[in-house]
């Protein structure tokens, strides 16, 4: 008898490997590894380096041959390799409170470590932590383009001050689409139109800033070229996501989360297009074969909140062991190049602004939650897994409202505590108990309906 049919509602500890992860995502690892290797040698290649935070603006850098470091990604890179501790300790010893955004704390801590190492001329070459940490090239420019979250904006102001204001900084403001006007609608109406013009203007100014700091004119044609690949990749990704309406779902949230880097900040090239093509093909083949990301899919969940980067594998297995497929999520399914149709390659900037404004958090709660509910209906979601990422208020702000709306739509919801990059906030026991309760309630609901 297959294990799942005799399974009680109890959450299993130490599950055997059951998550059937897509094999094509492995191709993606090579792209990411090459990106980091290239970045680590940027200075040797004579490239200027920009540190940035916020939305996915790397096409602007790529088109101008500037190397880019995404602060959040760097923190996630360290966290996923479990080497974030040193950077966080450096931050803490300067007085950064542990209740502050742990992405920012890790990144700022990193900057501190780098500077100290440079100053002292000492790095333990044997330590893998020191190796990872010492590789990051220091910035020639800082750019901040953070939608919604004020912490995201302030983060770079602190980095700017850490470098004694010697590194030029540029801010792109991406204002909230509050939706208070009479003509307000999701990503539409006069507010959206005005904000789009405003953000597009700032993006052109940002290109000027890049040009001024590299001494080279900005090549707009190259931006169109890079965006051609990005647009195609985004379309393929969304088409592949759409196929996950199938039961069982051919891919899970965890497959999408490990490819966030690709859609977020990998270079726009044919290689990226090929990668998403391969992912889509594998997903299509699974649909035909009736193969699921969780072999015996019984429950379909939506993951809300920022990813708990140091727990990806652990969580994937935990849900799979309970025959639960986390099919979609706010971070994976709503946050990156969601609106490729808005991009006109002849003049990509307004469409890029449109996409940046489309960050789900950046729309007022009624609009964002309307979209979450729509996605949950589309993917036939039974329950919401709400990751309360302790130090990321950008993501936790509307979570009570999201859960309330989900319940109104007949879905269950559980909350569990964790964090984006600070492992100490994660409570495994709490998740186990709540997952168990959620599964029990789904089972009893189903037995009543049967």
């Amino acid at each position: 008898m297959p294990e799942h049919t005799s399974m009680s509602a109890k959450v299993r500890e130490l599950p055997p490997r059951r998550a059937n992860r897509l094999s094509s995502t492995r191709l993606g690892s090579a792209i990411v590894n090459d990106y980091w290797a290239d970045l680590f040698s940027a200075k040797e290649q004579g490239k200027k380096v920009v540190w940035y935070n916020g939305t996915y603006i790397p096409p602007f850098f790529h088109a101008h041959d500037v190397a880019w470091v995404h602060g959040e990604a760097w923190s996630a890179y360290l966290a996923a390799r479990h080497v974030e501790g040193d950077a966080q300790m450096a931050g803490e010893s300067r007085g950064y409170d542990r209740e502050l955004c742990s992405y920012a704390r890790t990144h700022i801590g990193q900057a501190l470590l780098d500077m100290k190492d440079l100053k002292d001329g000492k790095l333990d070459p044997q330590s893998p932590k020191a190796i990872a940490i010492s590789q990051l090239p220091l910035p020639d420019m800082i750019i901040n383009a953070y939608p919604y979250c004020s912490s995201g904006q302030q983060w770079d102001e602190m980095i700017y001050r850490l470098f004694d204001k010697r590194v030029p900084i540029f801010h792109v403001n991406i204002p909230l689409l509050w939706g208070g006007r009479k003509d307000a609608a999701y990503l539409a109406g006069s507010e959206m139109d005005e904000r789009k013009t405003y953000v597009a203007h700032q993006l052109r100014e940002m290109a000027k800033f890049l040009s001024e700091n590299t001494g080279r004119p900005y090549e707009w044609d190259r931006l169109s070229e890079v965006m051609g690949y990005i647009k195609k990749s985004a379309e393929l990704r969304l088409e592949a996501m759409d196929m996950c309406t199938a039961t069982p779902s051919p891919a899970s949230f965890f497959d999408w989360i490990v490819t966030i880097a690709h859609v977020n900040f990998m270079p726009g090239t044919q290689r990226l297009v090929d990668f998403f093509e391969a992912m889509k093909a594998e997903i299509a083949a699974r649909v035909v074969a009736g193969e699921g990301a969780v072999p015996d899919e019984k429950y379909r969940f939506f993951f809300d909140g920022m990813m708990n980067w140091n727990k990806i594998g652990w969580l994937a297995e935990k849900f799979a062991a309970n025959n639960a497929c986390v099919v979609a999520g706010r971070y994976t399914h709503m946050s990156f190049w969601q609106e490729p149709q808005a991009i006109d390659l002849a003049d990509p900037v307004p469409g890029m602004a449109h996409n940046y404004l489309a960050c789900p958090n950046n729309s007022g709660a009624p609009y964002m939650i309307g979209e979450i509910d729509r996605l949950c209906d589309k993917f036939k979601i039974d329950g919401m897994v709400m990751h309360v990422s302790r130090t990321c208020r950008g993501m936790t702000n509307s979570q009570h409202l999201i859960a309330e709306s989900a319940r109104k739509h007949g879905r269950t919801a559980l909350f569990f505590e964790g964090d984006v990059a600070d492992e100490s906030f994660y409570k495994d026991e709490l998740l186990n108990t709540r997952l168990e309760a959620m599964i029990e309630s789904l089972d009893s609901r189903r037995s009543v309906m049967a």
């Binding site: 300067r94 007085g95 950064y96 409170d97 209740e99 502050l100 955004c101 920012a104 901040n144 919604y148 979250c149 004020s150 912490s151 904006q153 302030q154 983060w155 770079d156 102001e157 602190m158 700017y160 001050r161 204001k165 900084i169 801010h171 403001n173 204002p175 909230l176 509050w178 208070g180 006007r181 405003y198 203007h201 700032q202 100014e205 007022g364 709660a365 009624p366 309360v388 302790r390 130090t391 208020r393 950008g394 936790t396 702000n397 509307s398 979570q399 009570h400 409202l401």
Partner: protein
């Protein structure tokens, strides 16, 4: 003098009650707003009462399930009050400031009272961008249009000029009290001064200004108090008033407050709006000038540093120490705090950090820490005097 302070204290202690009564008595609308830079002159010029929504001391109950415990006390208290129905009488809530927690709170309020009018237009936060002034003016224009629509009225330039002049006068009078305090001639305590500023965020401004003028005259005429203790500068609390017991504690433990940059203090009244020219241009100017005068960590401005400002202010006011009140979970403050610590270390300024919480504070422990702070500073000063 005491009767004026008592009037101010009554309003400051029950701002919602005051505003509700004002509405009943006048039949005119009330507009709530959140901190920090919403130009309330616009509301006054539209014939309504602008009220800055305050944190209240009562425990968080109804709000517990709507806002996480790791949000600052201001946000938790505001959500709690809203869920208890306290803001229902507001004709609208308008705000313009960007703190991520505040944005979340506004959404919780809108969600739980879908019929309410909560309007937001984000003021540009990167203050030194070349387009920042134009953008700020655009946002202010939009706020004005939305307010006109909300109240069904037109705000004329003449009315706005009049409101600006009134509010300037009000701020100037309060600043006069600050000057007297710096000169050691103010008979009011830190608690009293908070009542003055906090009530100015709520009360009918004509009434407030009239009483304030009386108070200033009385303070000018009063003999200088016999102030003994270590002069300290109070900093922090970007949105909420420090609990009065905490202010009392500071002043009863060997310290005398000689200056502050609290929101319920100098930060709020630091800057006047130009009274000539286009009033929206003037309000935009005020917005930037305010951040230059008292830098705010929620704004990005390469030239305005809160840490440098504090070092200058501590020196200018003759304070011998800096007490920083950090509201627990206030991210903008937590981010900036290490800069302040380092700047004070460089300048040789003694600093004491007190982390404040909505749900009870360890006042006994604070008392010991303030006493120690005062004592250590006194000994240091003594040692320095001996050479």
């Amino acid at each position: 003098m005491r009767s004026v302070i008592e009037s101010f204290s009554a309003v400051a202690g029950d701002s919602v009650g005051y505003a509700r009564r004002w509405k009943e008595e006048t039949g005119r609308p009330v507009i709530g707003s959140f901190p920090m830079n919403f130009p309330v002159e616009l509301v006054h010029a539209a014939g309504a009462l602008p009220v800055i929504i305050q944190e209240v001391d009562e425990p968080i109950t109804d709000g517990e399930a709507a806002v996480f415990s790791f949000y600052c006390g201001y946000n938790r208290s505001v959500v709690d009050q809203a869920l208890k129905g306290r803001f229902k009488f507001f004709d609208g809530i308008m705000f313009a400031d960007h703190c991520v927690q505040l944005l979340g709170t506004a959404d919780v309020l809108r969600w739980h009272d879908p019929g309410s009018r909560i309007l937001f237009n984000q003021l540009v936060a990167s203050m030194d961008a070349t387009w920042a002034v134009d953008e700020a003016r655009n946002s202010l224009g939009q706020l004005k249009r939305e307010l006109e629509d909300l109240l069904g009225t037109i705000i004329t330039d003449a009315a706005l000029h009049e409101s600006i002049a009134l509010f300037n006068h009000n701020r100037q009078l309060i600043r006069r009290l600050y000057t007297l305090r710096e000169e050691g001639r103010l008979t009011l305590s830190a608690r009293d001064l908070q009542h003055v500023v906090k009530s100015s965020m709520v009360m009918d401004r004509e009434d407030h200004t009239r009483l304030l003028a009386e108070l200033v005259a009385a303070c000018e005429a009063a003999p200088a108090p016999d102030l003994r203790g270590m002069p300290v500068y109070l900093s922090g609390h970007l949105c909420q008033a420090p609990q009065l017991t905490l202010l009392d504690l500071v002043e009863s433990t060997g310290a005398v407050v000689v200056g502050d940059d609290l929101y319920h203090g100098f930060r709020y009244i630091s800057t006047d709006v130009p009274e000539t020219g286009d009033p929206l241009d003037a309000l935009a100017f005020w917005y930037f000038e305010r951040n230059r005068k008292v830098p705010c960590p929620t704004r990005a401005d390469g030239d305005a540093d809160w840490d440098d400002f504090l070092v200058r202010e501590v020196t200018r006011t003759g304070a011998e120490g800096l007490i920083v009140l950090v509201a627990k979970f206030c991210e903008p403050h937590m981010y900036y705090f290490p800069e302040i610590v380092e700047a004070c270390e460089r300048a040789g300024i003694a600093l004491l950090k007190l982390e404040t919480e909505h749900d009870g504070m360890p006042l006994e422990a604070f008392k010991t820490r303030i006493e120690t702070f005062v004592e250590v500073s006194r000994r240091r000063k003594h040692a320095a005097a001996l050479g």
